[in-house]
Amino acid sequence: MPNIPSKLRSASWSIAVVLICAACGASGTAGTTTVAPTTAPPTTIATTTTEAPTTTAGSVPGFPVTVETVAGAVTVPASPQAIVSLSPTSTEVLFAIGAGGQVVAVDDQSNYPADAPVTALTGFSSSAEAVAAFDPDLVFISFDPGDLVSGLEAVGIPTVVHPAAVSLEDAYRQIEQAGALTGNVDGASAIIEGIEAQVDELVAGLADRVEPLTYFHELDNTFYSLTSSTFVGELYGLLGLASIADPADTDGFGYPQLSEEYILEQDPDFIFLADTKCCGQNAGAVAARPGWDQLSAVQQGRVIELDDDIASRWGPRISEFLSQVASAVDSVPVG
């Protein structure tokens, strides 16, 4: 009888199950970090505090400097001249505050500014050894894949963990810390003050509306979205916008996947596409989706194409995001 012994059958089955589950598990873990580009555990914020730079008798004013981050206190003994950034946001921050010249290597996702020294390093899985090979004197990351921080500290390389900001305050704090740690306190202050002034001006110029305008922020073409309580949601909120995803977020995670029919039923005033790069979406593609031609945002040209990167990072280009959204809001007549 050409039949498979039962042990073999169950063994082959368990192998298949394990493989499938391993694949799911692996993507699941990493998936969480990508699904929610601006999420961090709420507890991390409480520990992220800045100490004023302590000036001592070092050769460069402002050093050594110590700041408190999620991974503990980070002390930089002297002005760093070989910085590695594995976080696209940190890369943007470093260049914006004037520390670009001190950066020797950035990760493969750091696509802005264009002159950042991109390498094959990845923020998701680089080993401490690969990072240490650049002989850095300061490393910025947004995510510790496991043993990167401890590995780098073991070889004496100070490492700053700046996870996705959960609030504008948090984003400011990270810029401020980057300034202190790299000796660019003035550059950092200028960036923060610039954004603060812009926010004040935009908020002062907002029209009074009886009902807040609503929006659907599209993170990908399977309708993952974000709520008003996320970092990006806070920026929308400053401009008087409310997310239609709020009722969907029962567990407070901030990034629910919405039902398509719910989006159509809600008929949001705006659709913001943060999936123009990842998923090739644009206003035309949205209008062509079956049933979506009935949406007032589609009919009135209020499908706004964002840059995925700008809309998912928490660095200096927040101001570009705010300008784009604010001009969209201004185009809606009050009444």
Binding site: N3, A26, A30, T122, A245, P247, S259, E265, Q266
Partner: protein, 346 residues
């Protein structure tokens, strides 16, 4: 050798009527329930409006929600659930293995790799819609490779070599997929969404895409349902009854794989349905594939339509992955059925 007896069973009209009733009820439930507040009257009016052209006074937006989003999902769930269940039942018959499911020969791994490659390419300026054909091609290529290896070893004389070839192909392709994903983490979330499975529709497009495969594959598998009963008693007996076991097995594997590939390409990797629905039917109706296959189509369709309704309604307006629903709801139900009648399984 004891004299084997073919399971004597014809599909009783009462069983068929029961299956159709269950499917009908689940379609009505699926059409009536969703996060958007649409009355049953509006759903019916929309259907008449779209089919007969007469204006029944449903607002354009509600009609769009019903006709372009909810009803295609119901129809696609029905087809995908039915195809996966029939394919699973056919695999279980061919391999005489109760653990066989539609993904046994690497269809899931192949489809996953195909979709991953398409999604990575689309991030580089390709078209995201390529994921569907890429998954289809990947699934067929994986099963084709496994079958070719199985034949090369012993000409498909035993099912064990084919099974093991499937395991090897699946792990190989999964390794490639994992490697690509790890190199391109920016696409992880999209690929993950795809892997979780989703009855996602773009209007009626996906429904029309899978319908031909459903008609041809399911129809042909129904044609072969007596052959499955014959194979169940062993190759030697099958030969004496005039069935070419090797060729029949190959044809059934090809048909079931084609149905699986079509289903997976539009809905991702929805688990559990193809494994368990045939067993549920078997527990209810006995071991004959002449009864199991038709009822598995109706039962699988009904099961997936209901599961998708739960997926979009349980945490509305948020969605939960349908694979979670199929297993979370289906597994305890299946355990209960096993406790009641598990001894009658092969």
């Amino acid at each position: 050798m004891t004299t084997p007896r073919l399971p004597l069973a014809r599909l009783k009209p009462s069983w068929l009527a029961g299956g159709l009733l269950v499917l009908g009820v689940s379609v009505i439930v699926g059409a009536a329930i969703g996060p958007a507040d649409v009355s049953m009257g509006s759903v019916v009016a929309t259907v008449f409006e779209r089919l007969l052209g007469a204006d029944r006074g449903v607002s354009d937006r509600l009609a769009g929600i019903v006709w372009e989003i909810r009803l295609p999902r119901v129809a696609l769930g029905l087809l995908v659930g039915g195809m996966l269940s029939v394919a699973g039942g056919a695999y279980q018959g061919v391999f005489r293995n109760p653990l066989a499911d539609p993904y046994l020969l690497g269809a899931a791994a192949g489809a996953g790799l195909g979709a991953t490659v398409a999604i990575v390419l689309s991030a580089n300026g390709g078209n995201p819609a390529w994921a569907t054909p890429a998954a289809f091609v990947g699934a067929l290529a994986a099963v084709g490779l496994a079958t070719a290896i199985g034949s090369a070893i012993d000409g498909n004389r035993s099912t064990a070599t084919l099974l093991l070839a499937g395991v090897a192909v699946a792990s190989f392709l999964t390794a490639i997929q994992t490697f690509i994903l790890q190199r391109r983490v920016d696409t992880v979330q999209q690929v993950y969404s795809w892997i979780l499975g989703r009855v996602a529709t773009t209007g009626w497009d996906e429904v029309w895409q899978v319908t031909p495969y459903a008609v041809v594959c399911v129809g042909m598998l129904f044609w072969y349902r007596r052959a499955l009963d014959v194979l169940a008693v062993g190759d030697d007996v099958a030969e004496t009854l005039g069935v070419n076991a090797r060729r029949t097995r190959l044809v059934i594997v090809v048909l079931a794989s084609l149905a699986t590939a079509a289903a997976v390409s539009v809905s991702g990797l929805i688990g559990f349905v193809g494994l368990v629905v045939p067993h549920m039917i078997r527990l209810l109706s006995g071991p004959s594939y002449r009864v199991i296959l038709p009822l598995a189509f109706l039962g699988g369709g009904a099961f997936l339509v209901l599961a998708d309704t739960v997926a979009r309604q349980a945490f509305a307006p948020a969605e939960i992955p349908i694979g979670v629903v199929t297993a979370f709801v289906g597994a305890p139900f299946f355990m209960w059925m096993l406790l009641r009648g598990g001894r009658s399984l092969p």
